[in-house]
């Protein structure tokens, strides 16, 4: 029997943990560093690729994703060496998708050509807002004009360019967001990521929120309005949501991210990167040291950047598959879920009668209504506890 991961594919995630400045809302593993020895970092990534390909050799690599932090601060040569090493380590799909996250400042736009030559064929840009005041509030280093310019350079360099916006910001009304979204849709090519601002613990926004100083955030109802308006407008524009926050013209979805949501295998390299890898017939959850210096030294000294590597039970995998899979408009395969769990899916009737999910044949998916309250849906559906 084929391993379960083959239902989702196999991708490589490369985490670059550095940024020029830390944004106040961001809880990614990103740091500001005075100087970075990119050669050392390159060597560490290459050594990890070698190690992991020995662990899971011979399988087809579908995607590579450079995420961060700000990977557009990487020297194009480093990116090229990593891509070459991955190609040498695994057989690759002809149409392998290679994405790089970029911040839209002029500095980085200058490197786009180099990334293209290295093999990058898709760029995801953090535009965040089309309003200069809000960009400042979000602590961004670029203006709207600069972002537009970077975006133009990107679309002239790459076939596939997506960008990110953050909405439900402080003092933002549904009307204002609709106007901004329409403008974004007029710029968009075939993919958009639209995230509602999340106040994360341990960030500058999180601290201000706890002290009651982060005012003007929309309440649940108006955030809900904005979410549903977003769905409606993007549907009409031909960029429906294929996942909670990701919109694409059909066929232009991020293939790398779909590996996560379809619960495939992925190798994660770099500080704080996570992986799910199946070897010896067993799927494992893997993570690495969070602190950049520590990760680098560990790889250099021991030849292994992993901090933990835990076998996942069928029960764990079923839960993860459900949680990730229901984010997709297409939902999950009930057969696959039940064979991971080893027992039938439960608690679906009530959710179905409330119009939160649809269950037909092998497919179980959320309705538009259900996706907006996905956490509540998953809380109902998650299997109770192991053995129970």
């Amino acid at each position: 029997m084929a391993d379960d991961w083959q239902n989702g594919g196999f991708g490589l995630y490369v985490h670059w943990p550095f940024c020029q400045a830390k944004c106040p809302y961001c809880d990614f593993n990103s740091h500001v560093a005075a100087s970075i020895d990119q050669t050392r970092w390159r060597d560490a990534y290459l050594s990890e690729i070698k190690r992991i390909s020995d662990l899971v050799p011979g399988r087809t690599l579908n995607t590579i994703f450079f995420g961060g932090g700000t990977p557009s601060l990487m020297q194009p040569e480093v990116v090229a060496d990593i891509i070459d090493a991955a190609r040498a380590a695994w057989p690759t799909a002809n149409d392998m998708e290679i994405t790089l996250e970029a911040n839209p400042t002029s500095v980085e736009a200058g490197r786009f050509q180099g990334y293209r030559e290295a093999g990058v064929n898709r760029v995801s840009m953090g535009v965040q807002s089309l309003n200069d005041d809000d960009l400042r509030r979000l602590g961004r280093l670029h203006s709207v004009a600069e972002a537009r310019k970077a975006f133009d350079i990107a679309r002239n360099t790459f076939d596939r360019v997506s960008f990110d916006l953050i909405y439900a910001r402080q003092d933002q009304t549904p009307d204002q967001w609709v106007a901004e979204l329409r403008e974004a849709l007029s710029m968009a090519i075939d993919h958009l990521s639209l995230y509602q601002l999340t106040i994360e613990a341990g960030t500058a926004f999180g601290d201000r929120y706890d002290r009651g100083l982060l005012r003007g955030l929309p309440d649940e109802d108006s955030a809900g309005d904005m979410y549903f308006l977003t769905q409606e407008i993007c549907d009409a524009a031909g960029l429906p949501a294929y996942e909670v926050s990701n919109h694409a013209r059909p066929g232009s979805e991020s293939r790398h991210n779909k590996i996560y949501w379809r619960y495939g295998d992925y190798a994660g390299i770099g500080p704080g990167a996570h992986g799910r890898l199946t070897f010896n017939g067993q799927r494992h959850a893997i993570d690495t040291a969070l602190a950049p210096g520590k990760w680098l030294e560990t790889v250099e000294k021991t030849g292994n950047g992993d901090q933990s590597c835990t076998p996942l039970t069928g029960f764990d995998q079923a839960g993860e598959y459900m949680m990730m899979g229901l984010r997709l408009r297409d939902g999950i395969s009930v057969n696959r879920y039940e064979s991971l769990l080893g027992q039938p899916i439960a608690n679906t009737e009530e959710l179905e009668s409330l119009g939160m999910i649809e269950h037909s044949g092998d497919q179980l998916k959320t309705t538009d209504q259900g996706r907006a309250v996905l956490n509540a849906v998953i809380r109902e559906l998650l299997p109770d506890s192991e053995g129970a």
């Binding site: 809900g224 909670v244 991210n257 993860e320 409330l354 956490n375």
Partner: protein, 599 residues
């Protein structure tokens, strides 16, 4: 054995905080009863909760030796009493054991509600009363005005009131002399058969039940075989002692003396306060009249927050009852709150004190349901039921009428706040009985339903008068009124823990307040939830909690899977802790907050 003429027994009574316990400290200290190094403030307030709240809850007794100016040494037995109205019965029974009272009045405040209540009890007990004006060290003290005030309001002569500061010790020798010269010596016959009054009893972890007595006639000795005339039980005395305030063994006690004994008695409940103690072999002919037993007037449910703590709660309640026979308990089950107890208390402070002790001394987290009084439900078939729990209210079709306890409340307040106090009483269905002035203070007397008072009356009174009002009450009678049970329905399901008895005229207001509150407290579900208050089948207030609109994690990629799943699992586990009402899950915290009504 001390001669009768050299004994003085007295209680110290006053309004709360006027300085009874501090005066007791000074009397103990100046007579050298307690070594200087062992002295501490409010020495007799031994319970943690008394020390922490700075109030007296239990009456305490101490025996003092005082060499008076006349060259003779006197034995003084003093009983410090609580000032708070909930513990008024402690005061009343203490008074039966003594012949006189020191009436302490704070010279910066004057006569307050409990001053009055206590002094009337002292007069009724035929006490000689020595007024004492305390706190004259305070700049705000006005002894002359307060003297007049005592004469006006209470009608006793205050010319010879002793001016003191219990804090600094000023005037204490005068108090000691006044006790000896102005209070009467006890009477009694040493040769008559033993007749002693059971004044109090408490549980001591080392000694078991300790019984405090006042000997009227005869002599009691260690080793005596005694009999309690009301309960009929007979015991051999293991230990006989006086309190100084530690127990000091003594071979015998004669007429007029106060002391304690132990006799292998297991529970406080086996002793009856007010009982007559006599010798088994040679009993006295007539028992003392006894005291009216204290009855709980305020009831509420106590439930453990964590259902696993039920057994611990049961144990804790039993242990506390060893020492406090005035609070009752009975097991109760609630769909909302699980297993718990319906407990009866002497008043709200008593309730709070017991709950605090359960939580602190036994490390429990408790949910307290809304306090309620005891209703008399008269059924159409002519029978009558005592209703302790609104959830048990019988179906209205069988009910003829309901009676509720009424009280006579006395409130003393500076006249600038009078209007607010009258409005408060009026709002609480009060009927004004009297309104008089003494200087700039008004004294209002109201007939009020007890149920309106146990709610939050005292808090409201304090807040509308900035703490300047004092309040005391006495139960008067049961009276019929238009009383109904209000139910709360969440998604059409009744929530038993939130049922309450209300007056029909106040029902809409209460119902609306409860629905609004619950709307804030119940988390949104995937469907909308009607929240209703109803009487019988009739809905009188309604709110709708709208359906959850958005609850989804915006970003969830490969690196988030582990963390986000843990979070959802934790939330799922949290759901298990909630109480299920049909399809609706209500967190415990919602009940806790909903039951904290603040009108």
């Amino acid at each position: 054995m001390t001669e009768l003429k050299n004994i003085r027994n007295f209680s110290i009574v006053a309004h709360i905080d006027h300085g009874k316990s501090t005066l007791a400290d000074r009397l103990i200290q100046m007579t050298g009863t307690v070594a200087e190094r062992d002295m501490k403030q409010q020495l007799l307030d031994a319970m943690d909760i008394e020390r922490e709240r700075g109030i007296t809850i239990k009456a305490n007794s101490v025996r003092i030796e005082y060499p008076a100016k006349d060259g003779q040494t006197y034995i003084l037995n003093l009983i410090d009493t609580p000032g708070h109205v909930d513990f008024a019965y402690e005061v009343s029974r203490s008074m039966q054991a003594v012949e006189g009272s020191l009436l302490v009045v704070d010279a910066s405040q004057g006569v307050e509600a409990q001053t009055l209540a206590n002094v009337y009890q002292a007069i009724e007990a035929d006490h000689e009363i020595v007024p004492v004006l305390n706190k004259i060290d305070l700049p705000a003290a006005e002894p002359d005005r307060v003297r007049e005030n005592i004469e006006d309001v209470i009608g006793i002569d205050a010319t010879d009131a002793v001016e003191i500061s219990a804090k600094t010790g000023l005037g204490i020798p005068d108090v000691l002399e006044a006790i000896v010269t102005r209070l009467p010596a006890p009477e009694g016959d040493r040769d008559a058969p033993l007749k002693a009054m059971l004044v109090d009893s408490w549980y001591d972890p080392y000694l078991g039940v300790v019984v405090m007595i006042r000997v009227i006639d005869g002599v009691i000795k260690k080793g005596d075989q005694i009999k309690m005339m009301q309960t009929g039980a007979s015991y051999r005395l293991d230990k006989l002692a006086v309190l100084k305030p530690q127990m000091i063994d003594i071979p015998e006690l004669g007429p007029g003396e106060i002391g304690v004994f132990t006799a292998s008695i297991k529970q406080v409940r086996d002793t009856k306060v007010g009982d007559t103690i006599t010798h088994d072999k040679k009993p006295c002919d007539k028992p003392l009249p006894g005291f009216k037993p204290s009855v709980p007037v305020v009831f509420c449910g106590l439930f453990p927050v964590d259902a696993n703590d039920f057994e611990s709660l049961r144990d804790a309640i039993e242990k506390l009852q060893l020492n406090d026979a005035s609070f009752s308990s009975e097991m109760e089950t609630s769909a909302a709150l699980g297993f718990g107890f319906r407990c009866g208390f002497l008043g709200l402070l008593h309730l709070e004190v017991i709950r605090d002790r359960l939580e602190r001394e036994y490390d429990l987290d408790l949910i307290t349901t809304a306090p309620s009084v005891v209703y008399h439900v008269h059924m159409k078939d002519g029978t009558q039921q005592d209703l302790h729990n609104p959830a048990d209210m019988p179906d209205l079709t069988y009910v003829d009428h309901v009676e509720e306890p009424r009280i006579k409340a006395t409130i003393m307040v500076p006249d600038e706040y009078l209007g607010d106090v009258l409005k408060l009483c009026q709002d609480r269905r009060g009927i004004q009985l009297d309104l008089t002035y003494a200087g700039t203070r008004a004294m209002v007397v109201y007939d009020l339903p007890l149920n309106e008072v146990v709610f939050d009356f005292y808090d409201r009174l304090k807040s509308v008068t900035k703490g300047y009002a004092s309040f005391d009450y006495q139960f008067t009678e049961y009276r019929q009124d238009n009383l109904v049970k209000m139910q709360v329905l969440v998604n059409e399901e009744p929530v038993d823990a939130l049922s309450m008895m209300v007056h029909r005229d106040r029902a809409e207001q209460r119902g609306r307040a409860m629905c609004e509150k619950l709307k804030e407290l119940i988390p949104r579900h995937m469907f909308k939830i009607p929240i209703q208050a109803a009487i019988g089948g009739k809905v009188i207030a309604r709110e709708t909690l709208s359906a959850m609109r958005k609850d989804v994690t915006a970003k969830c990629y490969g690196g988030d899977a582990t963390r986000k799943k843990k979070l959802l699992e934790k939330q799922k586990a949290g759901k298990k802790k909630m109480r299920q009402f049909g399809k609706v899950e209500i967190p415990q915290s919602a009940f806790i907050s909903a039951l904290k009504m603040d009108d």
